[in-house]
Amino acid sequence: MAISVKVMNRPDPEHTSYLRAALSGMALTFRHLVNPTKVTQQYPEELTNLSPRWRGTHRMEVHADGRPKCVACGLCPTVCPANCIRLVGGEDDQGNRYPIVYEIDEFRCIFCGMCQEVCPVEAIHVGQHFENAEYTRGRFVYDLDRLMEQDHPTTLLWDPSDPSSE
């Protein structure tokens, strides 16, 4: 395959004018100087519009009575490519399985969203949220209660404008 070289058709230095170029540059920067439209987003006051498919901090869906929807089937720790989910399942008197320990290490997580895809009862979700700074490393391991407390919108894994992708 032939290498294509882009030839810049620049005028020969004997025929370029520094003065005119400098003055037109000054005019350009002055127009930008007085232009009131600025591109900076004033972040803490002005929040980013996240995509509905943004995969961020996890959240655990809860039943109306406050129990987690998770049935401790063990699919999410199995599918997790980063191995960041720790699940210890248990069973109550009625034979319902529930998680005794459910922890997600948000540091190890790569936010691929496969836990949400694989979950048979739509319990664990990735969410449209990214502000999870903490002062200690330990705080990045989210336990079950903390996952249930999260109240940000969950992620749609498909494009809402295209139903066929669902």
Binding site: E14, L19, G25, T29, V34, K38
Partner: protein, 428 residues
């Protein structure tokens, strides 16, 4: 009007202390805020907002920067020449702040005890004092670069000295025309002669103004002439090894030089504190504060007032701010020159032009004096014509690639990208 005497006695001492404190304080505060202004202007030019978090509109940013720099760790390179390394920032900082002393900032202020001149030291050597002290600052830069024992810092210092020497020549020669016009080196007299001429020197000495502005940019090491710093080539040049408050001292002095140079340009070419009209004119002439001469040669006494002082100070501040803005505007527009281009511009363009222009203006003044044209509007207009023609000629000469071609253009070689042959398309 017995009160129209210069202030004297113990009151003079008090007035002097107040003036020194206030003017020095104002200069330091202006320097601090110009670091913020620089960042805001940079941001606006790049369609950003700039620092607006600390205090209202980011106005406390310089304070935050100052606290940060005071609390930072001082570094001292093990192989540095310690005494000079510590001395260098002081060598730079002091000249940049003391040069403001000879610049008149407003019309004289009348007080019950006498008239106070709005200038710290109206010394007879005036502009020479500024030149002497601004030249001293380069010693600090060279010393800092050398004492760091760092090759980049050393190259920065070396470049600074070469550049300062080169452009000081053009600066001095363009200044000569101003001194020929005003007939004296004190800046109060420069302002007075502009008031008498009825127009600011920027018109009758337009080419000198252009040369002076360009040389002043080079003298203050601002882009497009920031050879001594040149981040992309020399890390940060002469202050590479400096940190914390020592580094800050270099930055403060850079902005201090900018403020002084802006005030100087405003004084020399835009009439200093003079505002249009003759109502604010004032000058000490043979012990009397006069505002002009009558037709018969008699002096017209000036009528100073506090509101005139305030208004003229406002005018001076606006003119100085204009040059500060120009400094920042140019910095964020023009890319840095190559080193050989800086030298070529200094020695091959600025120096001969300044020399020829000084002779032209000298000749024009001689002719006008011989013809007996009185010092006034028509005198200025005639010189404006001469200078305008010289400026247009200079611009015409400069217009076609003579400043930036540098090495490639001077040998008349066709070094354009067109002459590099394209590789032939591969066969298969």
């Amino acid at each position: 009007m017995g009160s129209l005497q210069p202030i004297s006695g113990p009151w003079a001492l008090i007035a002097m202390s107040l003036k020194v404190t206030i003017i020095f304080g104002v200069v330091v505060v202006v320097v601090a805020f110009s670091t913020l202004a620089e960042r805001r202007v940079a941001a606006w030019i790049q369609d950003r907002r700039g620092p607006n978090r600390v205090g209202p509109f980011g106005l406390l940013q310089p304070v935050a920067d100052g606290i940060k720099n005071l609390l930072k760790e001082e570094t001292l390179p093990a192989t540095a020449s310690k005494a000079f390394f510590v001395l260098a920032p002081m060598f730079v900082l002091v000249p940049s702040l003391v040069t403001f002393a000879v610049i008149p900032i407003a019309a004289p202020l009348p007080t019950p005890a006498g008239v106070v001149d709005m200038i710290i030291a109206d010394i007879p050597i005036g502009i020479l004092y500024v030149l002497a002290f601004s030249s001293l600052a380069v010693y600090g830069v060279v010393l800092g670069g050398w004492a760091s024992n760092n090759k980049y810092a050393f190259l920065g210092g070396l470049r600074a000295s070469a550049q300062m020497v080169s452009y000081e020549v053009a600066l001095g020669l363009s200044l000569i025309t101003v001194l020929m016009m005003s007939g004296n080196v004190t800046l109060t007299e420069v302002v007075w002669q502009q008031q008498q001429l009825g127009m600011w020197f920027v018109f009758p000495l337009s080419l000198a103004f252009i040369l002076f502005v360009v040389s002043a940019f080079a003298e203050t090491n601002r882009l497009p002439f920031d050879m001594p710093e040149a981040e992309s080539e020399l890390v940060t040049g002469y202050h590479t090894e400096y940190s914390a408050m020592k580094f800050s001292a270099f930055i403060i002095s850079e902005f201090g030089h900018m403020v002084t140079a802006s005030a100087l340009m405003a004084t020399l070419f835009l009439g200093g504190w003079d505002l249009p009209g003759t109502w604010d004119d004032a000058f000490w002439h043979e012990g009397q504060l006069i505002s002009g001469f009558a037709q018969d040669g008699g002096a017209i006494l000036a009528n100073p007032a506090w509101w005139k002082t305030v208004l003229t100070f406002g005018g001076f501040a606006v003119k100085t701010s204009f040059f500060m803005l120009l400094y920042m505007w140019v910095r964020w527009t023009l890319p840095r020159f190559r080193y050989d281009q800086v030298m070529a511009l200094g020695w091959k363009v600025m120096l001969p032009t300044a020399l020829a222009y000084a002779m032209l203006v000298g000749g024009a003044i001689l002719v006008l004096d011989e013809l007996g044209v009185p010092w006034g509007f028509w005198y200025g207009l005639a010189l404006t014509g001469v200078s305008g023609a010289a400026t247009v000629g200079f611009m015409f000469f400069l217009d076609r690639g003579r400043t930036i071609i540098g090495a490639a253009g001077q040998s008349r070689q066709k070094v354009s990208i067109m002459s590099i042959s394209q590789p032939a398309p591969a066969g298969d």
